[in-house]
Amino acid sequence: MLTVEGLTKRFDSVVAVDDVDLELREGEIHGLIGPNGAGKTTTVNLITGELSPTSGTIEFDGSDLVGLSPSSIARRGIGRSFQVVQYFPDMTVRKHLHLAVRESTRTVRSVLDRGADYSDEIQEVAETARLEDELDTIAKNLPHGQKRFLDIAMVLAMDSKVILFDEPAAGLNESETNEVREILEDLRGDYTILIVEHDIDLVRAISDRITVLHNGAVLTTDTPDNVVENTQVREVYLGE
Amino acid sequence: MYEIPLITADNFITYALNGLSRGMIIFLVASGLSLIFGLIGLINFAHGSMLALGGYGTYIVIQATGNFWLGLIVSVVLVTLLGFALERKLLYWIYDEPLLGFLGTFGIGLVIEEAIAVYFGSRSYTVSSPLPESVQVLGVSYPSYRLFVILVGALVALGIGALLTKTRLGLEIHATANRQSTAEILGVDTARIYTITFVLGTGLAALAGALTAPITSMYPTIGLDYITMAFLVIIVGGMGSFKGSLVVSLIVGQIIAFGWLVLAPTYVRILIFAAAMVFILYKPRGFFGKPEVHE
C-alpha cells in the first residue's frame, strides 16, 4: 500500500531520520514507537510532504510522493491527525466534516462550487467518531476528548485510504483513551493505519505490527509480542 | 526637467555630510523601532507620531522660552514619559496579539497625529537653527548644526551599542529578545525589560524629532514618512539588529543625498521602497541575520 525505502532526513549536521524502510500493508494497523527524538514525527512529516527527504522514496499506489505538496498528498488519500489537535475553533462540527468531505469528493475545483449536501457521509463519519450528538456544537466548546475525535473524524471524512495518527491519545484520560481505541478497532480492515503513540499499552493492544525507531533508524519491525520481548528494544527504553 | 549638477570635490563633501546627517536622523528612528520590534515583536506604528511630538514639543518650548536646547530636553523627557504610560497602561495587554498590536499602535499614532493637526493646523512649521554659523570641514563650509546632529547620532550609536553589549541591562535585553521563557527561568523580570526597551525606543524617536526640527519643516504626518522609511531600513538591516539599523540608515542617507543629484527625490524613495520589498521577499532577515540585539 505505502512503501517507504531508504528514507533519510538531515537537518544541518543532525540525521533525524536515518535510512528508514517501512511498509504499510493494506488494511493493517502499524504501530510506530521509540523514545523521544527517535524520529517518529519527522517520519510522519516526511510521508505527508510537510518536510522533503534528503534521500529515499515514498511509494503509494504505484507513484512516488516525494516532492508533492501536503495538500496534493492529502487529496491522493493519505490523511493525518496531529499530536496537538488541529481544528477550527469557531466552526461547528458539521462544517468541519463538510469541508473535509467536500475537498475530497469534488472534481471541478471552482470557487463558486456551492457544494452538494453531504449529510449522509457526515452522519456516517460522525457516528464512527462518536460525534453524532455534537454535529451542531461549535468546536471550541467540545471537551478535549471530543476534539480529538473531531480530528479523527475529519480524516475519516476525507475518505483516505491511509491514515497516519500522530499520538491520538495524547492528553486524554483513561476512558477517552479507551474510546479512541474502540474507534481505531472499528476502522480496522477498512483503512491502512500508521499510529505513533506514547501509550505503549494502546499500541500493543491495537497494532498488527510495530516498528521501533531509535536515533532515527529502524531497530526492528515485528509483531507486538515479539517487540516486547526484544532485548534491544527494552534496553533502548530503559536506557541501560 | 531635472538638471544634473556637476560633482566637484567640494560639493561631494557637502553631499556626503548631508547624507550623513540625514542618515543619523533615520538611524535614531529606526534603531528605536528595531529595538522594540526585535524584543517585543510589536510593529509599532505609533513610533512616527512620537517623532512628531518630539519636534512639535520643541517648537512649543521655543515659542515660550526662545531656547532650543531647553525645548529639546523637555520634549524628549515628556514624550519618553508618554511612552512609559502607553506601554504600562495599554500596549502591555496586546503583546501576544500581533494584529491588535499593529492596529492599536496605528490608532494611537492616528490620534496623536490628528491632535497635532487640531492644535497646529496642517501647515508646516520651521524652527530656526540654534547654531546658525558654519564651520570649515575638510575644506568646505558646512552648517554647525548639522555637524552637531551627526555628532549626537554618533554618540547615541556608541552609547546604545555599549549599553547593549557591555551592561547587565544589555545582557537581559539580549536574553529576553532571544528567548523570553529562558530569561524568566533565570530570574529576569521580562515585563520590566519590555517596558525599558519600549521607553528607550520612544525616547530615541522623540530625540530624532527634536533634532530634525531645525533642518526640515514639520507637518502633522511627518512621522508616517519617517517610519515608512525606518521600517524598510530595519528590514534591510535585519529586524532587531542594532548594528544593521545603523549601517543601513547611513547607507540610505547617502543614497538619498547623492540620489537627488540624478533623480527626483520621489524616485529615490520609490527605489528604496522597491529594494525593501525585494528584501522582504527574499531576505527577510536582512543583511545582519538573526534578530539579535546583543552582538
Binding site: H144 | E172, R179, A183
Partner: protein, 236 residues
C-alpha cells in the same frame, strides 16, 4: 525535617489539552526526590507548572510556607528555586561567563558575583577553560554542565532538574551522573524528573512514578529499585 515544597491537586493544561491530572507530591528540606515515567507522560510539564511556565493550571504549589501558585516565573526563581530545563536552553551567542552572569540577580554585589562564578568554574573545570567561548559552540555534555552551573551559581535552596541525561552519549551520561552525585550530597533539595531510573536510583531518597499525567506509585529508592515497577511503568 521540614516540608519545603508541596504540590496539591495540580492539573496542568497546554491549550485545550490537559497534561497533568490531580498531581500531589511533596519534598522535604535536603531531600532528593525523583519523578520517573516514560516520555510524554507529563514529567516536563510537572516541572514547568511548578515555575508557572505553562498556559494554565489549577491546584496549589506551596514553597516554604508561601503559596507560589500564582507567582510569575522570575519571582519564583528569585525565591531560591533554580531550574535546569530539558533542552538546556543555553544562549548560543553569549559566552559561558555571560550565561552564568545572567542567572545571578543584578542585586548580587560584584565581589560575590565573581566568587560565585569562580565556584562554578572550580566545580566544572571544563567550563572554566571555556569561559570566553560562546554557548553555541559547546558540546552537548558541556552545555548540560553549563545549564547545571547556571542553576548552581545562584546557590539555590531547591534545584529542579529536567531529564539531565536526555540525549547525551553514554560516556557523557557518566560524567553528568558524577556531577549530580556531587550535588545531592550537599545540603540542598533536588527534584529530578527522568526516564533513566537506574542511573538515578543511587542519588535519590524517594521517588514517584508518573503515568499519563497521574502519580501512580511512590516509595523510597529501595522500593523503586524493584524490577516489577520498571516493568510496569517504564519499559515497553
Amino acid at each position: 525535617m521540614s516540608e519545603l515544597l508541596s504540590v496539591d491537586g495540580l492539573n496542568a493544561f497546554y491549550g485545550d489539552s490537559q497534561v497533568l491530572f490531580d498531581v500531589s507530591l511533596s519534598l522535604d528540606t535536603n531531600d532528593v526526590v525523583g519523578v520517573f515515567g516514560r516520555n510524554g507522560m507529563g514529567k516536563t510539564t510537572l516541572l514547568n507548572s511548578l515555575v508557572n511556565r505553562i498556559d494554565r493550571k489549577t491546584g496549589t504549589v506551596t514553597y516554604g510556607d508561601r503559596d507560589i501558585s500564582e507567582w510569575s516565573t522570575h519571582e519564583i526563581i528569585r525565591e531560591g528555586i533554580a531550574y535546569v530545563p530539558e533542552e538546556r536552553e543555553i544562549y548560543p551567542a553569549l559566552t559561558v561567563r555571560e550565561n552564568l552572569d545572567l542567572a545571578l540577580s543584578s542585586s548580587v554585589p560584584d565581589e560575590v558575583r565573581e566568587d560565585r562564578i569562580e565556584n562554578v568554574f572550580g566545580q566544572f573545570e571544563r567550563l572554566g577553560e571555556r569561559h570566553d567561548q560562546r554557548g553555541g559552540t559547546l558540546s552537548g555534555g558541556e552545555q548540560q554542565m553549563l545549564a547545571i552551573g547556571r542553576a548552581l551559581v545562584t546557590d539555590p535552596d531547591l534545584l529542579l532538574l529536567d531529564e539531565p541525561t536526555e540525549g547525551l552519549a553514554p560516556v557523557i551520561i557518566d560524567d553528568v551522573v558524577d556531577i549530580l552525585e556531587s550535588l545531592v550530597t550537599g545540603d540542598r533539595s533536588v527534584l529530578i524528573v527522568e526516564q533513566n531510573i537506574k542511573r538515578m536510583l543511587p542519588l535519590i531518597d524517594r521517588g514517584y512514578m508518573i503515568q499519563t499525567g497521574q502519580i501512580v506509585d511512590e516509595g523510597d529508592s529501595e522500593y523503586l529499585a524493584q524490577e516489577e515497577i520498571h516493568e510496569k511503568y517504564l519499559t515497553v
